[in-house]
């Protein structure tokens, strides 16, 4: 593993064997006060020595039940929460070692789409400002150029340029998720972490959003880290799957292999719990 790490650092770019994001030995423990008067402590291992790699231009799905550490993984990868141990190599740069300005600059190419379309948009900002915020922060383009790229991005995700003047509450859940996607993609990221991006949506809308994500991946050459509890969704979008259970990745492999012959008992249980599974098995 140390060899791989060295190589990653040495190349320092996208080159690194086509691997855009590599996480090594991620650990995160939550300590909670418990017991009478909070004198005791309970430790919850949310991430326990997690290793994963995302190949450029592909989708790695992380699946697991609620509480398995998926969302913590997403947040730790983006350095929204500090890690206890481990490193996150994004294009060969260790994000966990960065802070302040350097981290903010590195984040430009690493974006996230959130789960709850009702909580992920600032209710007091216009859609145009929400989508343009990343451009403003990174000082990209003039005000006019930004307006143009926001308009183009909104149209690309299936909204209208005129929607820039509206507020988030004027949109439905599916439309809001499109706004969230536009906000992440207007910065032309290389990797997008999608944290359960469709689980809050109706099934019919889910398919539309998944299709949109797939199209955008091809057009923009994106890589996705796709977090989901829904194995049906994962099968549609992922190239590789990592199964997470109690903070550990217990099985990882190509979608077809993993669905066809799961090696772990837990994976088998997950697969068996898919409704209408016999139709998928082919």
């Amino acid at each position: 593993m140390s060899g791989a790490r060295q190589q990653a650092r040495g190349n320092g770019g996208i080159g690194m064997n086509g691997i855009i994001l590599a996480a090594r030995g991620l650990s995160k423990t939550y300590v909670q006060r418990s017991g009478r008067f909070g004198f005791g402590t309970t430790r919850v291992k949310a991430l326990d020595d997690v290793n994963l790699e995302v190949k450029a231009g592909t989708t790695l799905a992380v699946v697991g039940e609620s509480g398995s550490g998926k969302s913590t993984l997403a947040r730790c990868l983006l350095q929204l929460q500090p890690l206890d141990a481990g490193e996150v190599l994004f294009e060969g740069q260790n994000l966990a070692a960065l802070s302040g300005k350097a981290l903010r600059a590195a984040r430009r190419h690493l974006q996230m789409v959130f789960q709850d379309p009702f909580a992920s948009l600032n209710p007091r900002m216009k859609v145009g400002d929400i989508v343009a915020e990343g451009l403003v922060i990174h000082g990209i383009g003039t005000a006019e150029q930004r307006r143009d790229s926001v308009a183009r991005m909104l149209e690309r995700v299936g909204l209208a340029a005129a929607d820039m003047e509206k507020y988030p509450h004027q949109f439905s859940g599916g439309q809001r998720q499109r706004i969230g996607i536009a906000r992440a993609l207007v910065l032309e990221p290389k990797l997008v972490v999608c944290d359960e991006p469709v689980s809050a949506l109706d099934v019919s809308i889910q398919a539309q959003i998944l299709l949109l994500l797939k199209e955008l991946q091809q057009e923009m050459g994106l890589s996705y880290l796709f977090i989901s509890h829904d194995l049906r969704v994962v099968r549609h979008i992922a190239d590789e799957v990592a199964v997470m259970h109690r903070g550990r990745i217990i099985e990882q492999g190509a979608v077809a292999d993993l669905y066809a012959k799961p090696r772990q008992e837990y994976t088998r249980i997950l697969l068996n719990s898919i409704p209408g599974r016999h139709r998928l098995a082919t």
Partner: protein
């Protein structure tokens, strides 16, 4: 905002405050007499067509004094609560944003301040300082910021975990940007409500201090010291105590009604 004024009580509060503010602003135009002019020929006259609220022990026109007193009382209320709100928002924002040690220290400071009875603290401080209206504003401001600080801290703590704030962080937003574009604008509602409610209690505090002679000093008129003048004559000149008392009551009532109306109207849980 429209919803706030659908509530008839909030509308009444707004009307009360608007008319008191208007009277205070226009005091020099409306006042029939010089508020400080002593006239020995018209001592302790009851309300009449010439003196709408009668005259006091020195023959001064009570209505004119009430109008100018309103300016002082409201000025003290607004400035004192302004100071308290600024301190409270800044400390609360620090505590809620940075959490950890910053939070612990600020919140213990809040606990210490809350454990001291405010009125007696102000009395003690004013006893050492000159009792001028500026000192009163600053002292009231410095002793009544704790509620706002707690409110803003709680608001920041919960907003900090919301996805739109995390998203701004992912976009690369600086701390300043997070606070001023995302957290503060979304905490504005409780801050406004607590400001309005705070003015009511500051007006009350100022009146109390002036009544005890530790507030606005005579001959400058404030509702509190008009009351003080009146207490010597309360048995035979009721108008000297009645009008300032009524004015304080209506002002405090007005701010409370408006504040509660705003709170109800702006609370998203009540209007899903």
């Amino acid at each position: 905002m429209k919803r706030a004024f659908a509530n008839p009580l909030a509308r009444l509060g707004l009307a009360l405050i608007a008319s008191i503010l208007l009277l205070a602003l226009l005091a020099p135009v409306i006042a029939p007499y010089d508020p400080d002019a002593i006239n020995v020929k018209s001592i302790l006259l009851p309300p009449s067509a010439e003196h709408w609220m009668g005259t006091d022990g020195l023959g001064r026109d009570v209505f004119s004094r009430m109008l100018f007193g309103a300016r002082i009382s409201l000025l003290v209320g607004f400035v004192a609560v302004g100071i308290a709100t600024v301190i409270g928002v800044v400390l609360g924002a620090f505590a809620g944003f940075y959490r950890g040690w910053v939070d612990i220290i600020i919140m213990r400071l809040v606990d210490v301040m809350l454990s001291i009875p405010t009125f007696f603290l102000i009395l003690a401080v004013i006893a050492f300082l000159d009792p001028s209206i500026w000192n009163i504003m600053v002292v009231i401001g410095l002793t009544s910021w704790m509620g706002v600080a707690r409110l803003v801290r709680a608001e920041f703590l919960s907003l900090r975990e919301r996805e739109f704030v995390l998203s701004a962080q992912t976009l690369g937003a600086s701390e300043v940007r997070l606070i001023f574009r995302h957290l503060l604008p979304n905490s504005l509602t409780p801050i406004i409500v607590s400001f309005v409610l705070g003015v009511a209690s500051a007006v009350l505090l100022e009146s109390g201090l002036s009544f005890l002679g530790l507030g606005v000093q005579p001959p400058q008129a404030s509702w509190g010291n008009i009351l003080t003048d009146g207490k010597e004559y309360i048995q035979f000149a009721w108008w000297l105590s009645f009008f300032p008392g009524l004015a304080i009551l209506l002002t405090v009532l007005g701010y409370n009604l408006l504040g509660e109306g705003l709170r109800d109207a702006l609370d998203p849980r009540k209007h899903p």
